[in-house]
C-alpha cells in the first residue's frame, strides 16, 4: 500500500486530476440541498472512501460525478473535460470512462450473467448492433475473462436472479471490468452483503485499483472496511466536505466525530 501511495503522490504532482469538482452545488427539485459548494480533486489511481451519516450527501456526490444527477451550480471535470456541459454522444463517451457499482447491484434480473456483463460494452457499439445483440467474440471473451477474475466464470449462463447477493455484486464488478473505465464509483457496494462477502467485494475493488490502476471512489458505511481499504478519506456532512485526509493520518476520533455530529474539522 505504501508503495502505491507513493506513486499516487508522484502522479498527482505531475498530472491533472482525474476528477475535479469546482464549486459544485446541487439542489433537488423539492428544495433539498444535496451538495453545498463542493471543491474536490481526485487523482488517478487513488482509492477514496467517502464517509458520512445517512442523508449527508454521499450518494449525491457520487452520482453527480457521472451525471446521473445534474448539478445546479459549478462544474465537474473528468480528466480535464467538463462532464457538466457534455451532451448526447459525448456524454455517453465520458460515462464510458466511469464505471459505477451500486448498493443494489442493478443487474437485470431476468437476463443472463453474460448479457449483464456485456452491457458494460454498450457505449463501444453503435445502437443497432447492440439491439440485435451483435457483440464481437472478442468482447464476449473479455466479459468471460472479467467473470473469471471475480471467480464467477461457471455462472456465465445463469440468470442473474439465481445468484446470491454477493455473487450479484461480483457480476456487477465484472460489468465494470468489461467496461474498462478509468474511474470506478461505488455507492455502498457492500451494504446488503454479509461481512465475508463484503470483504471479498472490497478485495475485488482493491484488485481493480491496484492491478488496473483504476481510480476508485467508494461510499462506505463500515468504518472497518473504510480503514482497511481506503487511501484517502473524505467526510461529508449536510452536503459539505468536513474532512479530507490520508487514511493513515486519520485517527478514530475523526470517524467518531463525523458519525456523531461533531465537525470533524481537524484538517482541511
Amino acid at each position: 500500500m505504501i508503495r502505491q501511495n507513493f506513486f499516487k503522490e508522484l502522479y498527482s504532482m505531475a498530472e491533472q486530476p482525474m476528477i475535479e469538482m469546482k464549486n459544485v452545488t446541487k439542489v433537488y427539485d423539492n428544495g433539498t440541498v444535496g451538495l453545498k459548494n463542493i471543491n474536490l480533486k481526485i487523482n488517478k489511481g487513488e482509492f477514496i472512501v467517502i464517509v458520512g451519516l445517512s442523508g449527508a450527501g454521499k450518494s449525491t456526490l457520487l452520482r453527480s460525478i457521472n451525471r446521473l444527477h445534474d448539478i445546479s451550480e459549478g462544474d465537474i471535470l473528468i480528466d480535464g473535460e467538463s462532464i457538466t456541459k457534455a451532451k448526447g454522444k459525448n456524454l455517453r463517451l465520458m460515462r464510458r470512462k466511469i464505471g459505477m457499482i451500486f448498493q443494489s447491484f442493478n443487474l437485470v434480473k431476468r437476463s443472463s450473467v453474460l448479457r449483464n456483463v456485456l452491457a458494460g460494452r454498450l457505449a463501444y457499439y453503435p445502437t443497432w448492433k447492440t439491439t440485435f445483440n451483435l457483440f464481437t467474440n472478442e468482447d464476449k471473451q473479455r466479459a468471460y475473462e472479467a467473470l473469471q477474475s471475480v471467480d464467477m466464470a461457471e455462472k456465465v449462463y445463469s440468470r442473474a436472479d439465481e445468484l446470491s447477493g454477493g455473487q450479484q455484486q461480483r457480476v456487477a464488478i465484472a460489468r465494470v471490468l468489461t467496461q474498462n473505465p478509468e474511474i470506478i464509483l461505488a455507492d455502498e457496494p457492500t451494504a446488503s452483503l454479509d461481512p465475508k462477502t463484503s470483504h471479498q467485494v472490497m478485495e475485488d475493488l482493491r484488485m481493480l485499483n491496484e492491478k488496473y490502476n483504476m481510480t476508485v471512489v467508494a461510499n462506505l458505511h463500515s468504518i472497518e472496511l473504510a480503514k482497511e481499504f481506503g487511501h484517502r478519506v473524505i467526510g461529508v456532512r449536510a452536503g459539505e466536505i468536513v474532512y479530507d485526509g490520508k487514511m493513515e493520518d486519520t485517527p478514530q476520533s475523526v470517524f467518531d466525530s463525523i458519525y456523531n455530529g461533531g465537525t470533524g474539522k481537524e484538517e482541511d
Binding site: N66, R92, R95, R110, L122, T127, T130, Q179
Partner: protein, 259 residues
C-alpha cells in the same frame, strides 16, 4: 387496568359509505331495477338457458369454421394491436420519456382511443372497408391497443429503475436502455397482457358480428334471430372451449416466463 377509550371518528369512511349508498340508490332509481321481480320471474330467465343447455351438436360443423375465422381475426389483431401498444407505451412511460408535454399529449390521445366502444369502432371500419373480417380485424386491433397500452405503460413505470441507471452509467443511450434494462423486465407482463387481450378479442367478436364485422358473432345473431337456442348453445360452448384453451396457454406461458 384502564377502560377501553372510545374510537376516533373517521370521517372519510362515512363519506365513502354514504357516496356508495347514494350511487346505489340513484342508479336503482334511474334504471328501475327490482331484484324481487327478477327472482319472481326466474323461470323465464332459465328458459332460454335450458334450451341452450341441449346444444345442437350437428351445428358444430357450421359453427367451427366461423370460430376459426374469429380466432384468426383475434390472432392478427392481438399481434398488431399489442405491437403498436408496446411501442406506444414506451413513448408514454414517464420513466423512459421524460418530456411531460410529449407524454401528456400522447396519453390524452390514448385515453380517447380507449374510450371508443368496440361496437362504434366496428361500425366505422365497416363503413370504411366494408363488411367482413377486415373491418373486424381493424376494430379489434384498435380495441386491443386501447386495452393493453394502459396495462403496458403501467407495468413499465413500475420496473426497477436500478438497471436503467446502470445502463446509463456505462454510457448507454435510450435504445440501449430499452433493450437491455426495460425489455427483460417487462417481457413476462407483455406476454401475459397480450394473451389477456387475445381472450378478450375472441369474446368481443360475438358483439362485432352484430354489425357485420365477421367471425362467429354473425352466426350467433343468426341463431338468435331464428330462435334456434340449441345452436346458440353450441356456439357458446365452442367459445367457452376456446377461452379455456387460451387460459391454459396463458397460464403456462406466464409460468415459463416468470420462472
Amino acid at each position: 387496568m384502564l377502560k377501553l377509550p372510545k374510537k376516533k371518528f373517521k370521517m372519510w369512511n362515512w363519506v365513502w359509505v354514504i357516496l356508495m349508498i347514494l350511487g346505489l340508490v340513484l342508479s336503482v332509481q334511474n334504471t328501475g331495477t327490482s331484484l324481487p321481480e327478477f327472482f319472481a320471474n326466474f323461470d323465464q330467465f332459465g328458459e332460454i338457458f335450458v334450451q341452450m343447455a341441449q346444444p345442437d351438436w350437428s351445428y358444430a360443423g357450421t359453427a367451427i369454421p366461423y370460430l376459426v375465422e374469429t380466432i384468426k381475426m383475434a390472432i392478427i389483431s392481438t399481434v398488431i394491436g399489442s405491437a403498436l401498444a408496446f411501442i406506444y407505451s414506451l413513448l408514454i412511460a414517464r420513466n423512459i420519456v421524460h418530456n411531460k408535454v410529449i407524454t401528456g399529449v400522447l396519453r390524452f390521445i390514448m385515453n380517447i382511443i380507449r374510450t371508443i366502444p368496440d361496437l362504434l369502432l366496428g361500425s366505422i371500419f365497416v363503413a370504411i372497408v366494408g363488411i367482413g373480417p377486415v373491418a373486424g380485424i381493424l376494430a379489434l386491433t384498435v380495441f386491443t391497443f386501447g386495452v393493453v397500452v394502459k396495462l403496458f405503460y403501467e407495468a413499465i413505470e413500475t420496473i426497477d429503475p436500478g438497471p436503467s441507471e446502470a445502463i446509463k452509467a456505462v454510457g448507454g443511450n435510450g435504445m440501449n436502455n430499452i433493450m437491455f434494462a426495460v425489455m427483460p423486465q417487462i417481457m413476462p407482463y407483455f406476454v401475459s397482457y397480450a394473451l389477456y387481450a387475445f381472450e378478450i378479442n375472441v369474446r368481443a367478436s360475438t358483439v362485432l358480428g352484430y354489425i357485420g364485422a365477421g367471425g362467429i358473432g354473425l352466426q350467433l345473431k343468426n341463431t338468435l334471430d331464428m330462435f334456434s337456442y340449441n345452436q346458440t348453445g353450441m356456439i357458446i360452448l365452442v367459445i367457452f372451449l376456446v377461452v379455456l384453451v387460451i387460459d391454459f396457454i396463458s397460464t403456462k406461458a406466464r409460468e415459463a416466463l416468470m420462472r
